[in-house]
């Protein structure tokens, strides 16, 4: 897992922003926050007196990106923080490595498996069997592929690692 620069010891304002961001859920997978998803890259109070938040897209064309930006503004507005500057961070590119352990656990409980390395081992989120077959390289959102468990026959989504 890659660790995003976090808030411990940071200014109270920055800590408050991180806490607010932890309440912003992925619109397609409402059990994980954008912090757990690993797409928040930095939070900082800059010289212009405004809070800057760096966000990286999971996929270049992910349609949820704009919704996420709006949700961030709303959440921070709710904390009395208007005029937040959202910055798009492209490097380093997001991979499933950026998911937090907690996020991974929540995804699996929600029925979405996580591929840790490209073509790595995948376990059925329902019965944990590793006897799975890929139905399609693509799925219901850009970040997922479609699999089926050969043991319990349950079809399931997998967070793909590219």
């Amino acid at each position: 897992m890659v660790e995003a620069p976090r808030a411990s010891g940071a200014q109270p304002l920055v800590r408050r922003v991180w806490q607010a961001l932890e309440t912003v859920m992925d619109p397609e997978i409402p059990v994980v926050s954008i912090v757990e998803l690993g797409i928040v890259r930095h939070v900082g109070l800059r010289e212009d007196g405004r809070v800057h938040v760096g966000i990286t897209p999971t996929y270049s064309g992910c349609p949820a990106t704009e919704w996420i930006h709006r949700s961030i503004r709303e959440a921070l507005f709710g904390q009395g923080l208007a005029g937040v500057v959202l910055e798009t961070v492209l490097w380093p590119a997001w991979t499933t490595e950026w998911l937090s352990e907690e996020g991974r656990r929540k995804l699996e409980a929600y029925g979405i498996a996580v591929e840790r390395t490209p073509s790595g081992q995948i376990a059925c989120p329902r019965c944990a069997s590793q006897a799975v077959e890929r139905l399609s390289e693509f799925g219901s959102t850009p970040c997922k592929a479609h699999y089926r468990c050969s043991a319990c026959l349950e079809p399931f989504d997998t967070f793909k690692c590219i």
Partner: protein, 262 residues
């Protein structure tokens, strides 16, 4: 049009960098627009989702590249203005990207030939001296590598499939091969970008592309057509008849209501 005389020596001008970025951006945009035509029409639900997802990636890449191109140009045009308010001669995508979808086999052949090219090109562009381009390339390369896994998989399945599927993809390959010369033959702008380390020399891309494609065609039991003569100049704004029609559809709303926003 930029000629050899304009860019033989000296630094890279904003205009030249802008033109080069549009080659990459427009190729992704036009190919994405083409693929979106399959949404709701693909042979199976899984392939429908796959082509729709690849469309999203390509349009996302185009958006990043167009936004950056707009900054480089410095005339205040954003990605939407560049996508929707330019006409065919101002598009610099490679001609292969705009070719019609045809049947599923033709779409797969076009996709595989372009995926192999984008994978190698973006892989090299990660080392570009242009930092923003390098960052976009790092993201795009991973996506294109995944697209190649899909298109190459289907190329092999169809080529080494039934008599019917083999005949169809072979015919598509024979028909589209003449557009591949453009991908691999540098013009003055390509050479100029390479001399400044902004883009890789196309000779490097050619050998990697050929290795990748030759191996895939062999596995697919397809016959590789003879080397393509290079008359296509989409990357210099001279297109086949198909681009104008594609843009008419893609830009319909902005042509009808210029400047309209949600």
């Amino acid at each position: 049009m930029i000629t050899a005389a304009d860019c033989t020596a000296g630094a890279v001008s904003a205009e030249e960098r802008f033109r080069y970025l549009l080659r990459l951006a427009d190729t992704s945009l036009v190919l994405g627009q083409r693929l979106s035509g399959w949404v709701g029409h693909a042979p199976t639900l899984e392939e429908d989702l796959a082509l729709g997802n690849i469309t999203l990636d390509l349009i996302g890449q185009a958006r990043l590249l167009l936004a950056y191109a707009g900054q480089v140009e410095g005339r205040g045009r954003d990605e939407d203005q560049l996508a929707f308010l330019r006409d065919a001669p101002e598009f610099f995508n490679v001609t292969l990207a705009e070719q019609p979808n045809g049947d599923f086999g033709q779409t797969i052949v076009r996709q595989a030939l372009l995926d192999a090219w984008q994978v190698e090109l973006y892989h090299s562009l990660i080392g570009s001296t242009d930092e923003q381009l390098a960052n976009i390339a790092a993201k795009a390369m991973k996506e294109c590598r995944y697209h190649w896994r899909f298109s190459c998989g289907w190329l092999v399945r169809l080529g080494d499939g039934t008599e019917e599927s083999h005949a169809r993809v072979q015919a598509a390959l024979d028909g589209l091969w003449r557009f591949t010369g453009e991908l691999l033959t540098p013009d003055a702008l390509d050479a100029h970008m390479a001399s400044h380390g902004i883009a890789p020399p196309l000779a490097v891309i050619r050998s990697r592309w050929e290795a990748r494609v030759t191996a895939a065609l062999e596995e697919a039991t397809l016959r590789q057509p003879p080397p393509a003569y290079f008359p296509w100049l989409g990357k210099r704004g001279v297109h086949s008849e198909h681009l104008g029609q594609l843009l008419t559809e893609m830009q319909h709303l902005q042509r009808l209501h210029p400047g309209a926003t949600w």
